[in-house]
């Protein structure tokens, strides 16, 4: 079926091809009638992406040279030796730093939409962001004083978390 037919079918609004009982059962009332049309670009994008990827892979398989070597055939692992014990030990602090990083990263992300609409928010938005940052600074003060940022210290300075 060509895209035009699909579009027409969608515009003619949805469920006529189903028997009545089914149409009653699948209740799509809140969905807009031009649902298909609105998301058609997405479908086309998807098809192009799949098509392009498969064409490129197929072409390189068909016309490319193959000279396998030991290094080429080994699994690729970002420059590390891929063979070895998977359960090597590393510090749990990586996780702690990772979690803290995500928290503060998300905070920074919140600043962008705020900056975009700051004019509309006026002074209220300006001060509101100060409150927000102040709350985050409480958290920062907390992790700092607890020693979560000291990489070398064996345990937190004042009591353990």
């Amino acid at each position: 079926m060509c895209a035009q037919c699909l579009t027409l079918f969608a515009l003619n609004s949805s469920l006529e091809c189903f028997p009545n009982s089914v149409a009653n059962y699948i209740d799509l009332a809140p969905m807009p009638d031009n649902y298909f049309v609105r998301y058609l670009p997405l479908l086309i994008h998807f098809l192009v992406a799949v098509g392009f990827a498969s064409v490129v892979v197929t072409l390189s398989w068909l016309i490319g040279y193959r000279r396998p070597s030991r290094a080429k055939m080994s699994p690729y692992e970002c420059g590390m030796t891929p063979i070895g014990d998977t359960q090597s030990r590393f510090s749990v602090k990586f996780y702690l730093v990772g979690m803290l990083f995500i928290l503060f990263d998300v905070e920074a992300v919140f600043l962008y939409p705020w900056a975009v609409i700051l004019r509309k928010l006026k002074m209220f938005g300006f001060w509101e962001m100060f409150v927000y940052i102040a709350i985050f600074l409480v958290g920062f003060f907390y992790i700092w004083k607890k020693g979560a940022l000291d990489w070398a210290a064996p345990s937190a300075k004042r009591g353990e978390v």
Binding site: D27, P30, K120, F124, F141, K145, G159, E160
Partner: protein, 499 residues
């Protein structure tokens, strides 16, 4: 289109005043805690947290003077939300009182603990006043994340870590269900506001999607209140978590989630409510009580008992709004105070490392510490539902509401279960008074704060058992907040209209 008014009014802040108070106190605790040593941290942050919860009670009172909607119809202060705000704030205060001794006996550092309790209570309060499902979800997460961490607070005990991880994994899974339900509900009705959803669902045509949405949301909320068949986590989590935390999370979040359920099921006029509740209530009562029969660990026993009580409470949800809502509210309060009291005794008696938690440890407690044993006995009698205690009227109202809604089968199952339940509660009492003690080492004297916690929960239990009228009247008056007056007389959605 008019530009949306983006600047909140001062009145908006009054609508979330208790939540603001709790967050601010929580943050103050976080700020001062790193500067203190262990002992001072325990006492000072404990005192701050107690003050915080008391100020939250005052804030709730102030809030109750100006009911209404706030923050673009996201929160609503009405007598229903005020009820749950008071309940959650009092639970928090009592839990903080009983935690003080526990923290020093178990040598746990206090700051984060009290902070998390306040943050959790903040989320729970927000749940009870939120009338917008996305806000409900956020509040649910605030409360859940705090309780996940609190469950693992006996850091050195493997069992506590296990409890925390189990609770976290299963809990986040359940929250996913709730969120999916919210999304489906938005698909079905085009809104996430409970009011608007109710209007769409009352207009007659109920999309199939709405049934699925309610079912998904119910899975998520049912998990949080430990209703069967979503109860599997309960015994393991309650066994491992610190006792005061169990007292907290078996009462406050449950009360909040029941508030959400009441709003979703009654205010939004959820379709298919009766069957959903019927099956869950019957299963929870039966599985909870049968599970409790074979428990030897008192914390596990109380965990199963809390599953059963969630079942009794859910019976009220199947009844008519004008009887069911007050009955459910009364039961929530009665169960909360009774259960907190029982866990306060368990937490005190457990001792360092919570060593004394099995049935044999309780042998001869009646002789070793008559006052403690008598207190626990009263709480257990209230859990059974003996007259003169809160538990009696709670069960009475629930079952009479069920009878009025013609739910005879469910009521019979409830009565049979109450009879089964009497066995295992009485077993603890029998062991305490009639079995010879294994060791007669003296039980540690009850410190002042814990004594206050016990006295307060005992007072509440007896007050609700002897003079239940005022609270029930108040609860009945808030029915109209959930169900528009014209709707109250309409027949209940349910059995007849499922297909």
């Amino acid at each position: 289109m008019n530009p949306i008014q983006i600047i909140p009014h001062a009145a908006d802040y009054v609508r979330i005043l208790p939540e603001l108070v709790l967050s601010v106190f929580g943050m103050i605790i976080m700020l001062i805690d790193p500067l203190l040593d262990d002992r001072r941290s325990r006492s000072l942050s404990g005192a701050l947290a107690l003050v915080g919860s008391l100020v939250a009670i005052i804030a709730t009172w102030m809030q109750s003077q100006s009911p209404g909607l706030g923050f673009w119809n996201m929160v609503r202060v009405d007598s229903f939300s005020i009820f749950f705000h008071f309940l959650i704030a009092s639970i928090t205060a009592i839990v903080i009182l009983m935690s003080y001794e526990y923290m020093s006996v178990q040598e746990i550092r206090g700051g984060e603990y009290y902070g998390l309790i306040l943050f959790g209570a903040c989320g729970m309060m927000l749940m009870s006043s939120a009338v917008e499902l996305v806000l409900v979800f956020i509040a649910l997460e605030i409360s859940s994340i705090s309780t996940y961490v609190l469950a693992g607070f006996r850091r050195r005990a493997a069992i506590s870590a296990e409890s925390s991880v189990k609770y976290f994994l299963l809990g986040s899974f359940a929250t996913g269900f709730f969120l999916y339900g919210v999304a489906l509900m938005f698909g079905a009705t085009g809104s996430t506001t409970i009011d608007a959803i109710g209007n769409v669902l009352r207009s007659g045509h109920i999309p199939v999607l709405a049934y699925m949405a309610i079912a998904f949301m119910f899975v998520g909320l049912g998990f949080k209140v430990a209703a069967a068949p979503f109860h599997i986590w309960t015994p393991d989590v309650y066994e491992g978590a610190p006792s005061p935390v169990v007292a907290f999370m078996s009462t406050a979040p449950k009360a909040a989630v029941f508030a959400v359920l009441l709003r979703v099921l009654f205010e939004a006029n959820a379709p298919g409510r009766i069957w959903l509740i019927w099956v869950t209530a019957a299963l929870s009562m039966t599985l909870g009580n049968i599970g409790a029969l074979v428990q030897d660990n008192v914390k596990r026993l109380l965990a199963y008992s809390s599953i059963a009580h969630a079942g009794y409470l859910l019976v009220a949800f199947a009844a008519l709004p004008e009887n069911g809502i007050p009955a459910a509210m009364f039961y929530t309060a009665a169960y909360a105070f009774t259960n907190i009291g029982a866990f306060a005794v368990v937490s005190h008696f457990g001792g360092a490392g919570e060593r004394r938690v099995t049935m044999e440890d309780y042998a001869g407690l009646g002789k070793r510490s008559p006052l403690l044993a008598a207190t626990l006995t009263l709480f257990l009698l209230s859990l059974i539902g003996i007259p003169m205690t809160a538990g009696f009227f709670a069960k009475f109202y629930v079952f009479s509401a069920a009878i009025k809604a013609n739910l005879v089968g469910l009521t019979v199952i409830g009565f049979l279960n109450s009879a089964i339940a009497a066995y295992y509660y009485l077993r603890i009492i029998v062991v305490m008074y009639m079995r010879e003690e294994r060791d007669d080492s003296p039980v540690a004297p009850v410190p002042f704060a814990l004594g206050m916690a016990l006295a307060l929960s005992l007072f509440a239990t007896m007050y609700l058992g002897i003079l239940p009228g005022r609270m029930l009247d108040y609860a009945s008056s808030s029915v109209s907040d959930l169900v528009a007056p014209a709707m109250q007389t309409m027949p209940v959605q349910g059995i007849a209209q499922v297909h």
